[in-house]
Protein backbone atom coordinates (compact mmCIF):
# COMPACT_ATOMS: atom_id res chain seq x y z
CA UNK A 1 0.00 0.00 0.00
CA UNK A 2 1.54 3.32 -0.97
CA UNK A 3 1.18 6.06 1.63
CA UNK A 4 0.07 9.26 -0.05
CA UNK A 5 2.64 12.09 -0.45
CA UNK A 6 1.75 15.46 1.11
CA UNK A 7 0.46 17.98 -1.40
CA UNK A 8 2.25 21.24 -2.18
CA UNK A 9 5.26 22.48 -4.13
CA UNK A 10 7.74 19.99 -2.64
CA UNK A 11 5.88 17.08 -4.21
CA UNK A 12 8.37 16.70 -7.05
CA UNK A 13 11.51 17.20 -4.99
CA UNK A 14 13.68 14.34 -3.79
CA UNK A 15 12.04 12.67 -0.83
CA UNK A 16 11.21 9.25 0.59
CA UNK A 17 8.17 7.44 -0.79
CA UNK A 18 6.70 4.96 1.65
CA UNK A 19 5.55 1.58 0.37
CA UNK A 20 4.38 -1.25 2.62
CA UNK A 21 4.63 -4.87 1.43
CA UNK A 22 2.11 -7.04 3.22
CA UNK A 23 3.18 -10.68 3.59
CA UNK A 24 -0.48 -11.61 3.52
CA UNK A 25 -0.73 -10.17 0.02
CA UNK A 26 2.16 -12.41 -0.99
CA UNK A 27 0.58 -15.40 0.77
CA UNK A 28 3.64 -15.54 3.04
CA UNK A 29 1.68 -15.10 6.27
CA UNK A 30 1.47 -18.90 6.39
CA UNK A 31 5.15 -19.25 7.18
CA UNK A 32 6.33 -15.81 8.30
CA UNK A 33 5.56 -15.52 12.02
CA UNK A 34 6.54 -11.85 12.32
CA UNK A 35 6.47 -9.07 11.18
CA UNK A 36 3.29 -8.67 9.09
CA UNK A 37 5.21 -7.14 6.24
CA UNK A 38 8.01 -4.72 5.59
CA UNK A 39 8.53 -1.16 4.34
CA UNK A 40 9.87 -1.19 0.79
CA UNK A 41 10.33 2.57 0.82
CA UNK A 42 12.18 4.20 -2.08
CA UNK A 43 13.71 7.58 -2.95
CA UNK A 44 12.44 9.57 -5.85
CA UNK A 45 12.24 13.22 -6.97
CA UNK A 46 14.18 16.08 -8.48
CA UNK A 47 17.47 17.40 -7.21
CA UNK A 48 17.54 20.96 -8.49
CA UNK A 49 20.60 23.12 -7.81
CA UNK A 50 18.81 25.07 -5.12
CA UNK A 51 18.03 21.87 -3.26
CA UNK A 52 21.63 20.66 -3.18
CA UNK A 53 22.68 23.62 -1.11
CA UNK A 54 20.76 22.30 1.91
CA UNK A 55 18.64 19.36 2.97
CA UNK A 56 20.63 16.23 3.47
CA UNK A 57 22.55 16.54 0.27
CA UNK A 58 26.14 15.56 -0.28
CA UNK A 59 28.80 17.97 -1.41
CA UNK A 60 29.38 16.21 -4.67
CA UNK A 61 25.64 16.40 -5.42
CA UNK A 62 26.08 20.18 -5.19
CA UNK A 63 29.04 20.02 -7.58
CA UNK A 64 27.17 17.76 -10.02
CA UNK A 65 24.13 20.03 -9.96
CA UNK A 66 26.42 23.01 -10.56
CA UNK A 67 28.08 21.23 -13.50
CA UNK A 68 24.69 20.27 -14.92
CA UNK A 69 23.61 23.90 -14.77
CA UNK A 70 26.70 24.83 -16.79
CA UNK A 71 26.66 21.85 -19.18
CA UNK A 72 23.40 19.87 -19.51
CA UNK A 73 25.39 16.85 -20.76
CA UNK A 74 26.42 16.32 -17.17
CA UNK A 75 23.58 14.30 -15.65
CA UNK A 76 21.53 15.78 -12.83
CA UNK A 77 22.18 14.87 -9.22
CA UNK A 78 20.03 11.91 -8.22
CA UNK A 79 17.85 11.13 -5.23
CA UNK A 80 19.20 8.21 -3.13
CA UNK A 81 18.78 6.67 0.34
CA UNK A 82 20.98 8.34 2.94
CA UNK A 83 19.84 6.37 5.98
CA UNK A 84 18.82 2.71 6.06
CA UNK A 85 17.77 0.31 8.80
CA UNK A 86 17.65 -3.50 9.04
CA UNK A 87 14.65 -5.78 9.25
CA UNK A 88 14.33 -8.94 11.31
CA UNK A 89 12.24 -11.87 10.17
CA UNK A 90 10.88 -14.67 12.37
CA UNK A 91 9.68 -17.52 10.20
CA UNK A 92 9.34 -21.27 10.01
CA UNK A 93 11.32 -23.10 7.36
CA UNK A 94 10.56 -26.37 5.62
CA UNK A 95 12.09 -28.41 8.43
CA UNK A 96 9.74 -26.84 10.98
CA UNK A 97 12.67 -24.91 12.41
CA UNK A 98 11.77 -21.50 13.80
CA UNK A 99 14.35 -19.13 12.31
CA UNK A 100 15.24 -15.58 13.35
CA UNK A 101 17.21 -13.80 10.71
CA UNK A 102 18.25 -10.18 10.11
CA UNK A 103 18.75 -8.38 6.85
CA UNK A 104 20.85 -5.22 6.94
CA UNK A 105 20.08 -1.94 5.12
CA UNK A 106 16.64 -3.00 4.03
CA UNK A 107 14.37 -0.09 4.99
CA UNK A 108 14.93 3.41 3.59
CA UNK A 109 14.62 5.92 6.45
CA UNK A 110 15.90 9.04 4.74
CA UNK A 111 16.60 10.27 1.22
CA UNK A 112 18.94 12.94 -0.10
CA UNK A 113 20.61 14.14 -3.27
Amino acid sequence: AAIPVPKGSCRNLCHRHQLFISFRDLGWHKWVIAPKGFMANYCHGDCPFSMTTYLNSSNYAFMQALMHAVDPNVPKAVCIPTKLSPISMLYQDNDDNVVLRHYEDMVVDECGC
Binding site: D25, L26, P86, S88, L90, D95, V98, R101, H102
Partner: protein, 232 residues
Amino acid sequence: QTSKFQDYDLLRFLDLEKEPSAHRFQPVPRVLRKVFQAREAAAAGGASQDLCYVKELGVRGNLLRLLPDHGFFLNTQKPSQDGSCLQKFLYFNLSAIKEKGKLTMARLTLDLGPRSYYHLGPEVVVALSVIEDRGMWGQSHPKPGRMLALQSVLGPQGPLHFNLQGVVKDWNSSRRKNLGLYLEILANEDRYSGVNFQVENTCDRLIRSLHASLLVVTLNPEHCQPSSRKRR
Protein backbone atom coordinates in the same frame (compact mmCIF):
# COMPACT_ATOMS: atom_id res chain seq x y z
CA GLN B 1 0.97 -4.56 -8.76
CA THR B 2 1.44 -7.46 -6.39
CA SER B 3 0.56 -9.77 -9.31
CA LYS B 4 3.81 -8.74 -10.97
CA PHE B 5 5.79 -9.59 -7.87
CA GLN B 6 8.75 -11.92 -8.36
CA ASP B 7 8.22 -14.28 -5.38
CA TYR B 8 11.14 -16.40 -6.39
CA ASP B 9 13.57 -13.51 -6.60
CA LEU B 10 12.57 -12.15 -3.22
CA LEU B 11 12.92 -15.60 -1.61
CA ARG B 12 16.37 -16.04 -3.17
CA PHE B 13 17.28 -12.56 -1.93
CA LEU B 14 16.25 -13.65 1.57
CA ASP B 15 18.53 -16.68 1.17
CA LEU B 16 15.62 -19.14 1.04
CA GLU B 17 15.58 -21.96 -1.54
CA LYS B 18 11.81 -22.13 -1.79
CA GLU B 19 8.68 -20.94 -0.08
CA PRO B 20 8.32 -22.94 3.15
CA SER B 21 4.97 -24.65 3.61
CA ALA B 22 4.59 -24.67 7.38
CA HIS B 23 1.63 -26.92 8.22
CA ARG B 24 1.70 -26.05 11.89
CA PHE B 25 3.43 -23.15 13.63
CA GLN B 26 5.94 -24.27 16.26
CA PRO B 27 5.85 -22.43 19.59
CA VAL B 28 8.30 -19.54 19.50
CA PRO B 29 10.59 -19.65 22.52
CA ARG B 30 10.69 -16.58 24.71
CA VAL B 31 14.34 -15.87 23.91
CA LEU B 32 13.67 -15.64 20.15
CA ARG B 33 10.64 -13.42 20.74
CA LYS B 34 12.74 -11.23 23.02
CA VAL B 35 15.56 -10.87 20.47
CA PHE B 36 13.10 -10.15 17.66
CA GLN B 37 11.19 -7.51 19.64
CA ALA B 38 14.41 -5.83 20.78
CA ARG B 39 15.63 -5.65 17.18
CA GLU B 40 12.32 -4.29 15.96
CA ALA B 41 12.26 -1.62 18.67
CA ALA B 42 15.85 -0.60 17.89
CA ALA B 43 15.11 -0.39 14.14
CA ALA B 44 11.98 1.66 14.81
CA GLY B 45 13.92 3.97 17.08
CA GLY B 46 16.71 4.36 14.55
CA ALA B 47 19.30 3.12 17.06
CA SER B 48 22.40 1.53 15.56
CA GLN B 49 22.55 -2.20 16.12
CA ASP B 50 25.22 -4.89 16.04
CA LEU B 51 23.29 -7.50 14.09
CA CYS B 52 26.15 -9.96 14.53
CA TYR B 53 25.92 -10.21 18.29
CA VAL B 54 23.03 -11.69 20.28
CA LYS B 55 23.14 -9.68 23.49
CA GLU B 56 20.38 -11.78 25.09
CA LEU B 57 22.47 -14.94 24.73
CA GLY B 58 25.88 -13.33 25.02
CA VAL B 59 27.24 -14.89 21.81
CA ARG B 60 28.16 -13.69 18.35
CA GLY B 61 25.77 -14.76 15.64
CA ASN B 62 23.39 -13.38 13.03
CA LEU B 63 21.14 -16.35 12.46
CA LEU B 64 19.18 -18.10 15.20
CA ARG B 65 17.36 -21.35 14.61
CA LEU B 66 15.14 -23.36 16.95
CA LEU B 67 15.16 -27.01 15.88
CA PRO B 68 12.24 -29.16 17.06
CA ASP B 69 12.82 -32.67 18.40
CA HIS B 70 11.94 -35.44 15.89
CA GLY B 71 12.65 -38.32 18.33
CA PHE B 72 10.23 -40.66 20.07
CA PHE B 73 9.46 -42.15 23.49
CA LEU B 74 10.37 -45.65 24.59
CA ASN B 75 8.55 -47.70 27.22
CA THR B 76 5.70 -45.36 28.02
CA GLN B 77 4.29 -48.03 30.39
CA LYS B 78 4.23 -47.38 34.19
CA PRO B 79 7.66 -46.76 35.78
CA SER B 80 9.71 -49.91 35.58
CA GLN B 81 11.07 -51.57 38.72
CA ASP B 82 14.36 -49.72 38.48
CA GLY B 83 12.47 -46.41 38.77
CA SER B 84 13.07 -45.46 35.16
CA CYS B 85 10.41 -42.83 34.62
CA LEU B 86 10.93 -41.83 31.04
CA GLN B 87 13.13 -42.97 28.15
CA LYS B 88 13.27 -41.01 24.98
CA PHE B 89 15.29 -40.71 21.82
CA LEU B 90 15.92 -37.07 20.84
CA TYR B 91 16.76 -36.28 17.22
CA PHE B 92 17.41 -32.89 15.61
CA ASN B 93 17.56 -32.42 11.85
CA LEU B 94 20.68 -30.30 11.20
CA SER B 95 20.31 -30.24 7.41
CA ALA B 96 19.14 -26.59 7.51
CA ILE B 97 22.47 -25.51 8.98
CA LYS B 98 24.71 -24.58 6.08
CA GLU B 99 28.43 -25.29 6.30
CA LYS B 100 29.10 -21.60 5.65
CA GLY B 101 28.00 -20.53 9.10
CA LYS B 102 30.25 -20.71 12.18
CA LEU B 103 28.43 -22.43 15.05
CA THR B 104 28.62 -20.18 18.10
CA MET B 105 25.97 -21.79 20.30
CA ALA B 106 23.92 -25.00 20.55
CA ARG B 107 21.67 -25.16 23.58
CA LEU B 108 19.34 -28.08 24.28
CA THR B 109 16.28 -27.15 26.31
CA LEU B 110 14.25 -29.82 28.06
CA ASP B 111 11.05 -28.19 29.17
CA LEU B 112 9.67 -30.37 31.99
CA GLY B 113 6.32 -28.59 32.10
CA PRO B 114 4.85 -25.52 33.68
CA ARG B 115 5.97 -24.51 37.13
CA SER B 116 3.34 -25.17 39.75
CA TYR B 117 3.57 -25.66 43.47
CA TYR B 118 0.85 -28.28 43.21
CA HIS B 119 2.88 -30.57 41.04
CA LEU B 120 6.00 -30.90 43.17
CA GLY B 121 7.16 -34.47 42.72
CA PRO B 122 10.01 -36.65 43.89
CA GLU B 123 13.55 -35.80 42.99
CA VAL B 124 14.43 -37.13 39.55
CA VAL B 125 17.75 -37.80 37.88
CA VAL B 126 18.13 -36.68 34.27
CA ALA B 127 20.66 -38.72 32.26
CA LEU B 128 21.59 -37.50 28.77
CA SER B 129 23.95 -39.37 26.47
CA VAL B 130 25.01 -39.35 22.83
CA ILE B 131 23.90 -42.21 20.60
CA GLU B 132 26.97 -43.45 18.79
CA ASP B 133 25.76 -46.76 17.56
CA ARG B 134 22.90 -46.91 15.02
CA GLY B 135 21.82 -50.26 16.46
CA MET B 136 20.58 -48.45 19.59
CA TRP B 137 17.54 -47.10 17.75
CA GLY B 138 15.86 -50.49 17.74
CA GLN B 139 16.50 -51.50 21.35
CA SER B 140 13.81 -51.14 24.02
CA HIS B 141 16.42 -50.91 26.76
CA PRO B 142 19.42 -49.31 24.99
CA LYS B 143 22.79 -49.03 26.67
CA PRO B 144 23.68 -45.32 26.60
CA GLY B 145 26.73 -44.08 24.68
CA ARG B 146 28.97 -41.21 25.84
CA MET B 147 27.35 -39.58 28.87
CA LEU B 148 26.79 -35.86 28.39
CA ALA B 149 24.97 -34.94 31.59
CA LEU B 150 23.77 -36.60 34.78
CA GLN B 151 21.76 -34.15 36.84
CA SER B 152 19.41 -34.52 39.78
CA VAL B 153 16.41 -32.22 39.65
CA LEU B 154 14.17 -31.49 42.63
CA GLY B 155 10.43 -31.28 41.83
CA PRO B 156 10.94 -31.53 38.03
CA GLN B 157 9.40 -28.40 36.47
CA GLY B 158 10.38 -25.70 34.00
CA PRO B 159 13.24 -25.68 31.50
CA LEU B 160 16.61 -27.42 31.84
CA HIS B 161 19.41 -26.18 29.54
CA PHE B 162 22.38 -28.23 28.30
CA ASN B 163 25.29 -26.87 26.27
CA LEU B 164 25.66 -29.16 23.23
CA GLN B 165 28.04 -27.02 21.22
CA GLY B 166 30.75 -29.68 21.10
CA VAL B 167 28.33 -32.46 20.15
CA VAL B 168 26.57 -30.40 17.45
CA LYS B 169 29.93 -29.34 15.98
CA ASP B 170 30.81 -33.02 15.82
CA TRP B 171 27.49 -33.85 14.15
CA ASN B 172 27.94 -30.96 11.77
CA SER B 173 31.39 -32.15 10.74
CA SER B 174 29.86 -35.39 9.50
CA ARG B 175 26.12 -35.70 9.13
CA ARG B 176 26.26 -39.48 9.47
CA LYS B 177 27.40 -39.03 13.05
CA ASN B 178 24.09 -37.37 13.95
CA LEU B 179 22.25 -40.28 15.54
CA GLY B 180 20.64 -38.14 18.17
CA LEU B 181 20.60 -38.33 21.95
CA TYR B 182 19.26 -40.73 24.50
CA LEU B 183 17.37 -39.24 27.45
CA GLU B 184 16.40 -41.14 30.57
CA ILE B 185 14.70 -39.68 33.62
CA LEU B 186 14.69 -41.76 36.83
CA ALA B 187 12.43 -40.99 39.74
CA ASN B 188 14.23 -41.26 43.05
CA GLU B 189 11.33 -42.08 45.40
CA ASP B 190 13.55 -43.01 48.38
CA ARG B 191 14.53 -39.40 48.82
CA TYR B 192 10.97 -38.56 49.94
CA SER B 193 9.94 -41.66 51.88
CA GLY B 194 7.33 -40.62 54.42
CA VAL B 195 6.01 -37.89 52.22
CA ASN B 196 3.23 -38.94 49.91
CA PHE B 197 4.59 -38.08 46.46
CA GLN B 198 3.06 -39.94 43.52
CA VAL B 199 6.01 -41.16 41.40
CA GLU B 200 3.60 -42.47 38.82
CA ASN B 201 1.86 -39.11 38.53
CA THR B 202 5.17 -37.39 38.08
CA CYS B 203 6.17 -39.80 35.30
CA ASP B 204 2.83 -39.40 33.56
CA ARG B 205 3.04 -35.64 33.81
CA LEU B 206 6.63 -35.60 32.52
CA ILE B 207 5.75 -37.82 29.53
CA ARG B 208 2.79 -35.58 28.71
CA SER B 209 4.52 -32.27 29.10
CA LEU B 210 8.16 -32.88 28.11
CA HIS B 211 9.13 -30.67 25.17
CA ALA B 212 12.70 -30.78 23.80
CA SER B 213 14.22 -28.25 21.41
CA LEU B 214 17.68 -27.24 20.22
CA LEU B 215 18.57 -23.56 19.81
CA VAL B 216 21.43 -23.13 17.33
CA VAL B 217 23.17 -19.80 16.69
CA THR B 218 25.44 -19.42 13.66
CA LEU B 219 27.56 -16.55 12.36
CA ASN B 220 27.86 -16.03 8.63
CA PRO B 221 31.37 -14.63 8.02
CA GLU B 222 30.22 -13.02 4.78
CA HIS B 223 27.77 -10.81 6.67
CA CYS B 224 29.80 -10.23 9.81
CA GLN B 225 33.25 -8.70 10.02
CA PRO B 226 35.35 -9.76 13.02
CA SER B 227 34.23 -7.42 15.81
CA SER B 228 37.78 -6.42 16.74
CA ARG B 229 38.34 -4.86 13.32
CA LYS B 230 35.10 -2.92 13.60
CA ARG B 231 36.07 -1.52 16.96
CA ARG B 232 39.43 -0.36 15.63
